[in-house]
Amino acid sequence: MLCLTRLCKSYGKIVAVDDLSLELRSGEVFGLLGPNGAGKTTTVAMAMGLLKPDSGSVRIGDVGSPDAASVRAMIGVAPQALALYDDLTGTENLQLFGRLQGMSRESLRKRVAWSLAFAGLTERASDRVKTYSGGMKRRLNLAAAVVHDPPVLLLDEPTVGVDPQSRHAIFKGIEKLRDDGRTIIYTTHYIEEAQRLCDRVGILDHGRLLALGTVEQLIADYGGKSVVSAETADGAIRIETDEPMAEIARVQQKRDVRSIRMDRPDLERVFLNLTGRHLRD
């Protein structure tokens, strides 16, 4: 559905994206997980045709490059920087973006109402955006991406700086979009989000895609073993194992255990193992 082939982009000496290839299947949520400066926003900008790659190509569906306006109409974007007019109301923002997509009056009316409900903003629809809370703006930012009902969505950190309540609402919304069969790129540096929402995850660092697969695959391939750590009368012990439950039972039988803990491998460990660093310092 969305195919990025060998994308490279540098800003002077900084290599923002380095030989990145990616193919999204129709209807999947693809998580692009990486720390600050990994190149997520740059990748999204190239995917939507905003930024010209130094080399490589972007293709959407079997239509072509997003340089063409008709191809861009298939994409909905929620930029990382809030892309809203503060002095327009929620409704007016959505109407504006819908009109620019060339929507008819009737479908615009329906879709604006739908998007406002989707973002849980129906009640505040006729207030100016500058009176919204941060979470409400984020939700409207997402609603503006879906107002023209595009099959492909590029969501760049759609939950950044958001309270748990709004975050929950956004998760629900994205799950709904996934159930409706949208193809979504979802960038984040939150492990939990990637684990909860994404069918597949790509791990991005310094512009390079280090690994790609389902969460289970990534953990199996790069997570390493589970770790059992225990405090005993003889001191602390740490055991790496493929069968943590059996190991715990064994430790408890043999020693005088004060406390015991088990860490299953997760994406954080995957990232640590791949880069030697934690995802967030």
Binding site: A45, M48, G49, L50, L51, K52, D67, A69, S70, R72, A73, I75, G76, V77, P79, Q80, A81, L82, A83, L84, Y85, D87, L88, E92, L96, F97, R99, L100, Q101, G102, R128, A144
Partner: protein, 441 residues
């Protein structure tokens, strides 16, 4: 709806919602126009003297005395020059008119009230009927005053009496001697002249300003006699100052609104970039051309609306009646065109709002300062007036005034309009080139 129009309407709506921005584009220029109109009106009252040039081609005591009379008058502000310079000053509108005293003026004056009436030539634009009439009145008045001033010194008069007497005798003797009546007239006349000479000889030679000699005051008022013959030479002139001070202050105030529009929309283009809305616009199925055209359309519309609104206020509340509405409309459209280009150029001068805003205002302020947006060009020192010709603000004020009160012909108006439009195109093109580089893709 056309997508450019959608974008332009969005920007106009945003301007309308931004009350501070709205004040600076519409309110401030209005306040400025009215405030300076009041001030100019005051300045006008202070120097109500008509500014003329006097050309003395006679170089006699008589002509000199008349020049001095005019120079000391309450009604006139006098400068002296040769005829060519004088005509040029009038043509360029620096002076309202010239008054030339041709050869023989002094002699004719001395012989007053006998002999040929002294002749002066005035050069003035025929359309300046009020000034022309006033100048005629003033010259006539000093024509009389010169005569009264001439009498207290009896010596020239006695010379005249003698001269007239000789002339009379020479020219009339043959003709009149033939008849009785003629002889009687001649002897009466010589007797009168003798008496007059005796009378003049008896006068004290020290001049006394209060005394009126020669003609009785009721005879002066009769209007049957003109002490001076005025011949008018028509000179088409650029008018230097209009009669209504608001005809100066409104174009000047409007310029601030135009600059405000250029700054507002230029900055809004930067804001779209920094605040991320540009990303969303670019993600829509429209091109960069649409985005820029939308911005330009909004700026153009706001500029024309603002200018029209202020000119309407000037028309209805301050009696600023344009000479030609059509020419004024051409002027306004050219100005809007120029400043849309400048807006585009300003929008790419800085990456951040602060940088673009700062540089933008510095550029606009510079243009306004040298271009007569702050103080009118005619008050400026000469060297600054010359510099001001490079400022689009100056051209803008000029073309507006050209349609309102300068009475520009199309030949005078269109080159300036062309300059405005050309500058607009160049600035716009430069802006687009940089914009494309900055925006990538």
């Amino acid at each position: 709806m056309n997508r450019v129009a959608i974008l332009a309407l969005k920007d106009l709506k945003l301007l309308y919602r931004d009350k501070a921005g709205l004040f600076f584009t519409f309110g401030f220029p209005l306040v400025f126009s009215i405030f300076f109109g009041i001030i100019f009106a005051g300045i006008g009252e202070g120097s109500s003297k008509m500014r003329i040039v006097v050309v003395d081609e006679d170089h006699t005591d008589g002509s000199r005395a008349f020049v001095n009379l005019l120079a000391e008058s309450e009604e006139l502000d006098v400068e002296e020059a040769d005829r060519a310079t004088a005509a040029d000053l009038v043509r360029r509108g620096k002076r309202v008119a010239y008054v030339a005293l041709p050869k023989g003026f002094g002699e004719a004056r001395e012989r007053m009230p006998w002999g040929a009436v002294p002749r002066v030539e005035t050069g003035i634009d025929p359309s300046r009927k009020a000034e022309s009439g006033m100048l005629r009145g003033v010259l006539t008045k000093y024509g009389f005053e010169g005569m009264t001033a001439g009498y207290p010194d009896p010596a020239p008069m006695r010379r005249q009496v003698t001269a007239i007497r000789t002339e009379l005798l020479n020219t009339t003797q043959e003709k009149t001697a033939a008849s009785n009546d003629g002889a009687t007239f001649l002897s009466n006349m010589t007797m009168f002249l003798d008496h007059l000479d005796t009378f003049l000889a008896a006068l004290p030679s020290a001049p006394d300003g209060t005394r009126h000699g020669g003609l009785a005051s009721d005879e002066r008022a009769s209007g049957g006699f003109a002490p001076i013959r005025i011949e008018s030479v028509p000179i088409a002139s650029e008018r230097a100052t209009p009669t209504n001070p608001y005809a100066v202050s409104f174009p000047q105030g409007i310029i601030w609104g135009v600059l405000g529009c250029a700054a507002t929309f230029g900055l809004s283009l930067v804001t779209e970039r920094t605040r991320g809305t540009m990303v969303r616009l670019r993600s829509a199925p429209i091109t960069r051309v649409h985005i820029l055209a939308g911005k330009a359309g909004a700026c153009f519309t706001a500029t024309v609306a603002l200018t029209t609104a202020l000119l309407a206020v000037a028309y209805f509340f301050f009696s600023v009646r344009p000479d030609s509405t059509f020419k004024l409309a051409i002027a306004v459209l050219s100005i809007a065109f120029c400043f849309v280009g400048i807006m585009m150029f300003l929008s790419v001068l800085g990456k951040t709002e602060q940088a673009a805003g700062g540089i933008g205002w510095a550029v606009l302020m510079g243009m306004a300062m040298i271009g007569g947006g702050m103080v009118p060009v005619f008050i400026m020192p000469k060297w600054l007036q010359n510099i001001s010709d490079i400022s689009p603000v100056r051209w803008s004020i000029l073309v507006m005034e050209g349609g309102i009160w300068r009475g520009f012909t199309f030949g005078e108006l269109l080159p300036w309009c062309g300059l405005l439009v050309g500058t607009g195109i160049v600035a716009f093109a430069a802006g687009v080139v940089v914009f494309r580089r900055v925006e990538g893709g």
